[in-house]
């Protein structure tokens, strides 16, 4: 299988603005020499302690920033900017509050230059896919968190990107809604065959969703391990999370992550803000 996404020795550095605590301007290495191939149609989850460069990696894949060294390739072509071949789903939904559900979903389609009728039709289909039929005319503030994230997913799916990039999309949701959306995401993924890169800080979520789990080390983020997840026939198991194989994988990833998390905590890693300052993640 050909690689849909390929990272070749990718590093990313940030120039940190001097602050009162850190009067000297510093360079911060967020990612160091990450190489990774994601085959077409794979569901890859990415875990790592805070400050391991998860979001940085996603930004690079999305084309929102460029690597300091190395290259990011999609379909063998270097990524030079954002594009409709990749859809991003953010943790905080990022819905346009002045647009209705339907108009949020058509947003990306407008960029594609589709006709109005086709846009509406496509948006309705995708809203149906995420189970939001009948909510077309609602505004985001009228929806619960889980529904907002469904809209965001529908918005990204609508323009049929080959790759779906998800940045801790379910982290702000309650446990029940999260599990429900995880199952729906898997259903949608199977139905669409989209390549998914899913960032999470939940080990269980990573093992549950991913065909492979990529574990990043604490800062500077390096690819520490890739764990293949083979849970057999999912439909045959009712409670997958208590299946011995699931427990085994979860423990394996936990072991890998455990030391990294402690190292990150000892170093007091903070999240880098867009303005070049650090703040608690």
């Amino acid at each position: 299988m050909s690689a849909h996404i390929e990272l070749r020795g990718v590093s990313k550095e940030f120039a940190l603005r001097p602050t009162r605590d850190q009067p000297q301007a510093r360079t911060l290495v967020a990612l160091e020499d990450v190489s990774l191939e994601v085959p077409r149609g794979e569901f890859l989850t990415l875990v790592g302690p805070s400050g391991s460069g998860k979001t940085t990696l996603l930004d690079l894949l999305g084309g929102l920033s460029r690597p300091s060294r190395g290259s990011v390739l999609v379909d063998g072509e270097e990524v030079t900017g954002p594009g409709l071949d990749r859809g991003i789903v953010f943790q905080q939904y990022a819905l346009f509050p002045w647009r209705t559900t339907l108009a949020n979903v058509t947003f990306g389609l407008e960029q594609q230059g589709l006709g109005r009728r086709e846009r509406v039709e496509r948006a309705r289909e995708n809203l149906a896919l995420v189970g939001l039929e009948g909510f077309e005319d609602r505004y985001p503030h009228e929806l619960s968190g889980g529904m907002k994230q469904r809209v965001a997913i529908a918005r990204s799916l609508a323009y049929q990107p080959g790759i779906l990039l998800m940045d801790e999309p379910f982290a702000a949701l309650d446990a029940q809604t999260r599990e429900q959306l995880q199952d729906e995401l898997l259903r949608i993924w199977r139905a669409t065959g989209t390549t998914v890169v899913f960032i999470t800080h939940g080990i269980e979520e990573a093992v549950y969703l991913g065909q492979r789990v990529a574990v990043l080390s604490s800062r500077p983020g390096r690819l520490k391990a890739l764990v293949d997840i083979d849970l057999g026939d999912r439909a045959a198991t009712t409670d997958l999370r208590s299946d011995p194989r699931f427990v085994h994988y979860r423990h394996e990833v936990w072991e890998l992550l455990h030391d990294e998390v402690r190292r990150a905590q000892d170093a007091g890693h903070l999240k880098i803000q867009p303005d070049g300052t650090e703040r608690a993640a």
Binding site: P82, A94, F96, R99, F107, P140, H141, E142, S144, M147
Partner: protein, 287 residues
């Protein structure tokens, strides 16, 4: 200034099915709205009663001339309306404030968008704009009169000047405070600078801009009346001052009453408009 925003009720968050919020039965709803009307107008009614009877029974007779009871004022108002004078003054004031206000809104929004978009320009202009904004518009009235005479031009100009700054500054603020996450999301969808501005920055700034427009409406009337008091041949400000100097005290109060109704109407219209354009933000803030 933001009471109008706070008063608006946030629609209930939908959790299960897309049903419309339940409506009250008609009879019950009528009682409620009458009750609300009574509660809301009680203070105004009490004030008017105090005006009417207080002036007749509580006031020392020598002062009564300067503060006639309400019915005399209303009679004078009716007299002015019948003779057509009132309409003439209202028309003069309305034209001036409408023209000045419109000019200010157009110029304020246009310049505000440009200034907010270009960082260098904003940095360059901000200190000057701050200085102008904090200079009371009426302090500049003599300058306007000296330069533009006492005709319509100077009055329209000072109204435009006073209304300009709230619109300008709110437009800048609105554009500056667009949620960076939305910009990121839009950029990830491949929007260029122009599309980003048109589809994300502008819509998200609209509520803030309309707050500025409403503030501008209030200050346009305030400044206009004062300008008309200083030098004019028509207008509500002129009516008030002229009535005072010719000792037609009820006419003077009729003018004041008209100004207050005029101001209330303008404000109501602008608050409605603002609320209409801010609906999504109101509820988003109450989330």
């Amino acid at each position: 200034m933001s009471t109008a925003i706070l008063e608006a009720e946030a629609p209930p968050a939908v959790t299960v099915t897309p049903t419309a919020p339940a409506r009250h039965t008609r009879g019950h709803g009528l009682t409620r709205s009458v009750g609300r009307l009574v509660r809301r107008s009680a203070a105004v009614v009490l004030f008017l009663l105090l005006w009417e009877y207080g002036t007749q029974y509580l006031l020392d007779p020598a002062r009564k001339v300067f503060l006639p009871p309400l019915h005399e004022v209303l009679r004078a108002w009716w007299g002015l309306a019948e003779s057509g004078q009132l309409q003439q003054h209202v028309a003069a004031s309305l034209t001036r404030s409408a023209v000045g206000f419109s000019l200010a809104v157009v110029a304020g929004i246009a310049l505000g968008l440009v200034v907010a978009w270009y960082d260098g320009l904003r940095e360059f202009l901000t200190p000057l704009l701050e200085a102008f904004r904090n200079t009371a518009a009426l302090a500049l009235l003599p300058v306007f009169v000296l330069l533009l005479g006492i005709g319509e031009t100077s009055k329209i100009s000072i109204v435009a000047y006073a209304s300009f700054f709230p619109v300008l500054l709110n437009t800048i603020a609105g554009v500056r405070t667009v949620d960076p996450l939305l910009v990121r999301a839009a950029r990830s969808l491949g929007l260029g600078s122009l599309a980003l501005f048109q589809k994300v920055v502008l819509p998200s700034a609209v509520p803030t801009i309309f707050t500025g427009v409403r503030m501008a409406g209030t200050s346009s009337i305030l400044v206009l009346i004062a300008a008309e008091m200083v030098g004019a041949k028509a207008g509500l400000g002129y009516l008030i001052v002229n009535a005072q100097s010719s000792f037609q005290i009820p006419d003077m109060y009729a003018g004041i009453l008209t100004v207050s109704v005029f101001g209330l109407l303008v404000n109501t219209v602008l608050v409605r408009l603002e609320r209409h354009f801010s609906r999504w933000r109101v509820a988003a803030a109450a989330r």
